[in-house]
C-alpha cells in the first residue's frame, strides 16, 4: 500500500458538449512528491483536477486517488484529499476561525480535535493573530493562506492546489511555497497547477498540458532537456529593433524578449550567431554580448508548445 502511487490516471477524457477539454491524459504521482501541472490558461488543468477530486465525472478513462476510484468511491476519496480551488472560496462574512470551524465540521472532525487542529493550522500559516478577523478584511495573500489552512484541516494525505498563488504578490508567493514545502516534508502528496515558470521549477515532477493533451512530463531538468534547438542569449542595445531583425532571419526559428536581452532558438547556433551579428551590424545596432545558454523552463515550455501546435 505504502509503495502504491498516490494518484494514477489512465486515458482520462472529459468533453463539454462537442468540446474536448481533456484528451486521454495518463500519469502517475508518487507519494510525498510535489507534482506540477503546467500549461497555458484553458489547457484543461482545472478540469483534470476536478475529475480527480470527484467534482466532475470523466467522459472516459479511469483514475485512482489515494487508492479510491474517482468514479465509484467519491465519498471515501473526498475524505482523503484537500482541495483549494482557483477561486477564493471561503465565506467572507465569517471570521478566519469560524471558516475553519465550519469546514472542519464538514469533514466530521470532533470538537476537541477540531479545536486543536484549528490552532495548529493557524500557527502553520501564521494567522493566529488574525483568527477573529472577518475574512473579508484579510489581504489576498492571507486569504490564500487561510484557504490552504482550511484545505489541510483534516490532515489529508493528498492536496490539490489549483493555481493557489494567482494574483498574489511575489513575497506572498514565496511564503506560500514555503508552506507547500513544509507540507510535502510531512509526507503530503501535492498536486499543484500553475502557469508561473519559477513555481514550476519548485516541483519535483511536472506534466505539461496543452489543448487538453499531455505533451510532456518529467522533472524540470527532463523538460529542459527536451529542447532540441540551442538557445542563444543576445544583449543588443536597441532591443525592439533587434528583435525584429532576429525574427526576420531564417536561421533563427524563434526570438523572444528575456529580461534585458533576447532568447533566440536555432538548430545551428554557430551559423545563426554569425548571421545575427552581421544583420545587426548592418543596422548599426551594437551587440554587447552573445552566447549560448542552457534552456530555462520557460524556453522549454514555449518550444514544447510550439512543437505541439505544429503537429
Amino acid at each position: 500500500m505504502s509503495d502504491a502511487p498516490a494518484i494514477v490516471v489512465k486515458d482520462l477524457t472529459r468533453d463539454f458538449g462537442s468540446f474536448r477539454a481533456v484528451d486521454s491524459i495518463s500519469f502517475e504521482v508518487r507519494r510525498g512528491e510535489i507534482f506540477g501541472f503546467l500549461g497555458p490558461n484553458g489547457a484543461g488543468k482545472s478540469t483534470t483536477i476536478r475529475m480527480l477530486n470527484g467534482l466532475l465525472l470523466p467522459t472516459a478513462g479511469e483514475g485512482r486517488v489515494a487508492g479510491f476510484d474517482i468514479v465509484r468511491e467519491q465519498e471515501s476519496l473526498q475524505e482523503h484529499i484537500g482541495y483549494m480551488s482557483q477561486r477564493f472560496s471561503l465565506y467572507e462574512d465569517l471570521t478566519a476561525e469560524e471558516n475553519l470551524d465550519f469546514f472542519g465540521g464538514v469533514y466530521g472532525l470532533a470538537n476537541d480535535r477540531l479545536a486543536a487542529r484549528i490552532d495548529e493550522v493557524l500557527r502553520l500559516v501564521g494567522l493566529t493573530e488574525r483568527r477573529a478577523d472577518l475574512t473579508r478584511t484579510l489581504a489576498l495573500g492571507l486569504r490564500q493562506r487561510l484557504a490552504l489552512a482550511s484545505a489541510v484541516l483534516h490532515e489529508p494525505p493528498i492536496l490539490f492546489l489549483d493555481e493557489p498563488t494567482s494574483g498574489v504578490d511575489p513575497i506572498s508567493r514565496r511564503n506560500f511555497w514555503d508552506l507547500i514545502y513544509a507540507m510535502a516534508d510531512r509526507g503530503v502528496t501535492i498536486l499543484v497547477t500553475t502557469h508561473y515558470m519559477d513555481e514550476a521549477e519548485f516541483c519535483d515532477r511536472l506534466v505539461l498540458i496543452y489543448q487538453g493533451r499531455l505533451i510532456a512530463q518529467g522533472t524540470p531538468g527532463d523538460l529542459k532537456g527536451l529542447v532540441q534547438d540551442a538557445i542563444l542569449a543576445a544583449y543588443p542595445d536597441r532591443l525592439g529593433e533587434a528583435l525584429e531583425v532576429a525574427r526576420s532571419l531564417p536561421l533563427i526559428s524563434d526570438a523572444a524578449v528575456f529580461g534585458r536581452g533576447l532568447h533566440l532558438t536555432a538548430a545551428d547556433p554557430q551559423a545563426a550567431g554569425a548571421a545575427l551579428r552581421q544583420a545587426l551590424a548592418a543596422r548599426d545596432i551594437t551587440l554587447e554580448r552573445l552566447g549560448r545558454v542552457a534552456p530555462t523552463l520557460e524556453d522549454a515550455f514555449i518550444s514544447l508548445i510550439q512543437r505541439a501546435g505544429e503537429e
Partner: protein, 376 residues
C-alpha cells in the same frame, strides 16, 4: 452526521444574523406586511362617499334622504344641483354613488303613483359597486314599504305588509363579517412562505455564486446533510416569525384565536416542508441569485393568487380549482383560518395536514435527488 449538520446550522445562523441589513429583513418585512395587509385588504364597506341630487326639495324627498344620512353605510359628501355636477364628482372619483330624486317626486307620491328615484353607481370597482348598490336598495326599499303600508291604511285595508319571509343571517365564526378576520390569518400564512422560501433559495444559490459550493462539494458532506443544515435555520426563523405575526394578529388586530396553538404549530411545520422544499428546488435549477429570484416570483405570485387568500377558489373556473390542489399555500391558509376562526382541531384539519406533508416530502425528495454531488 449530526456533527456535520450542527456546523452547517451554526454557520448559517452566524451568516444570517451578522449581516445587519439582513437581520432587519428577517423580522421587519413580516410585520410591515402584516400591518399593511391587515389594514389595506378590507372589503367592509362603510360610509361610502355619496352625492345627492335632490331636484324636488320637498318634505318627502328629505324623508328619504334622512334615511340615507342615518345609515352607517353612506356618507353624504355633496349636495349638487345638476346631473353634470354628479357626473363630474363621479369622474373625479369623489363619490362612488349618487342618488337622484326627480322634480315631481312628492307630487307623484301624493297622487298615489310611482315616483322612481335614480341611483348612479361608479362601477369601476365592481365588487364595491355590488355591495353599495345592495345597501342603497335596502334603504329605498324600506322607505317604499312604509309608504305602501300607509297607502293601504288609507284605503282602509289592514293587510300587514311586513315581509312574509325574513332572512336571518348567521355568519358562523365571524358574526359581523369583519374582513380583517379573514385576511389576517391569510397574511400570516403568506408571510411564513415569503420568509422561508426565498431565504432558503437565495442562501443556497449564493454559495454557488461566491464559489464556496465547490469547496463544499469536494468535501465528503452528503446532500441530505447539506440541505438539512441549510434549511433548518430558516425553519427556525420562520417559526419565530409565525410567533411574531400571530402575536400581532391577536393583540393588535384582535383577531380571535379560537383553536389551539399546537395545531397551528403542526400546520406550520407541515407547510414549511413545502416552502423550504420549493426554495431548495429553485436553488437546484438556478445558478445565480437573480435566476432564483425570478424563479421564485414565478412560483410565489401564482401560489398567492391561487390560494384563496384574496380571490375565493370556488369562484375560479374548474380547471384552476384543480390546480389549487397542488398549491401548498391553499391548505396552509385554510388551516390558519380554521384554527383562528373556527377553532378546528386535527380531527377536521388532518386532510389538509396530510396533503401538505405529502406535497412537502415530494418536493424535498425531488430537490435532494436533483442536488448534484458533482459539477457540470
Amino acid at each position: 452526521m449530526f456533527r456535520r449538520l450542527r456546523k452547517i446550522i451554526k454557520k448559517e445562523f452566524i451568516q444570517a444574523l451578522r449581516d445587519k441589513k439582513l437581520r432587519i429583513f428577517i423580522f421587519l418585512p413580516p410585520i410591515v406586511q402584516l400591518l399593511t395587509y391587515g389594514y389595506a385588504v378590507n372589503f367592509d364597506i362603510e360610509r361610502a362617499p355619496t352625492a345627492i341630487l335632490d331636484e324636488d326639495r320637498s318634505a318627502e324627498s328629505r324623508k328619504l334622504l334622512y334615511r340615507f344620512s342615518h345609515s352607517r353605510y353612506f356618507d353624504i359628501r355633496e349636495y349638487v344641483d345638476s346631473e353634470r355636477d354628479l357626473r363630474r364628482l363621479i369622474d373625479h372619483s369623489r363619490v362612488t354613488l349618487a342618488l337622484r330624486i326627480p322634480r315631481d317626486f312628492a307630487r307623484q307620491l301624493q297622487g298615489g303613483r310611482q315616483a322612481p328615484v335614480q341611483l348612479l353607481v361608479d362601477a369601476t370597482d365592481s365588487n364595491a359597486a355590488l355591495i353599495v348598490t345592495r345597501y342603497a336598495h335596502a334603504v329605498v326599499g324600506e322607505f317604499s314599504l312604509d309608504l305602501m303600508r300607509q297607502r293601504l291604511r288609507q284605503r282602509g285595508l289592514q293587510g300587514d305588509l311586513s315581509a312574509p319571509v325574513v332572512i336571518e343571517p348567521r355568519a358562523w365564526f365571524n358574526d359581523n363579517l369583519v374582513s380583517r378576520y379573514t385576511f389576517v390569518p391569510g397574511v400570516i400564512a403568506m408571510v411564513v412562505m415569503l420568509v422561508s422560501f426565498m431565504l432558503t433559495a437565495l442562501a443556497v444559490v449564493r454559495e454557488k455564486e461566491i464559489g464556496t459550493m465547490e469547496q463544499i462539494l469536494v468535501s465528503p458532506l452528503r446532500p441530505v446533510e447539506f440541505m438539512l443544515g441549510k434549511t433548518i435555520p430558516f425553519v427556525v426563523i420562520a417559526l419565530l416569525d409565525v410567533v411574531l405575526v400571530t402575536a400581532v394578529g391577536v393583540f393588535w388586530f384582535e383577531v380571535p384565536l379560537r383553536g389551539s396553538l399546537v395545531v397551528l404549530f403542526v400546520g406550520t411545520v407541515a407547510f414549511l416542508f413545502n416552502s423550504v422544499g420549493l426554495g431548495l428546488f429553485i436553488s437546484t435549477v438556478s445558478n445565480t441569485q437573480q435566476q432564483a429570484m425570478m424563479a421564485g416570483s414565478f412560483i410565489f405570485t401564482p401560489a398567492i393568487l391561487l390560494s384563496g387568500f384574496i380571490f375565493p377558489i370556488s369562484n375560479m373556473p374548474e380547471f384552476f380549482q384543480y390546480i389549487t390542489y397542488l398549491n401548498p399555500l391553499r391548505y396552509f391558509i385554510t388551516v390558519v383560518q380554521a384554527v383562528f376562526l373556527k377553532g378546528s382541531g386535527l380531527a377536521v384539519l388532518w386532510p389538509h395536514m396530510a396533503a401538505m406533508t405529502a406535497l412537502g416530502l415530494a418536493l424535498l425528495t425531488l430537490s435532494v435527488s436533483r442536488f448534484r454531488r458533482r459539477l457540470g
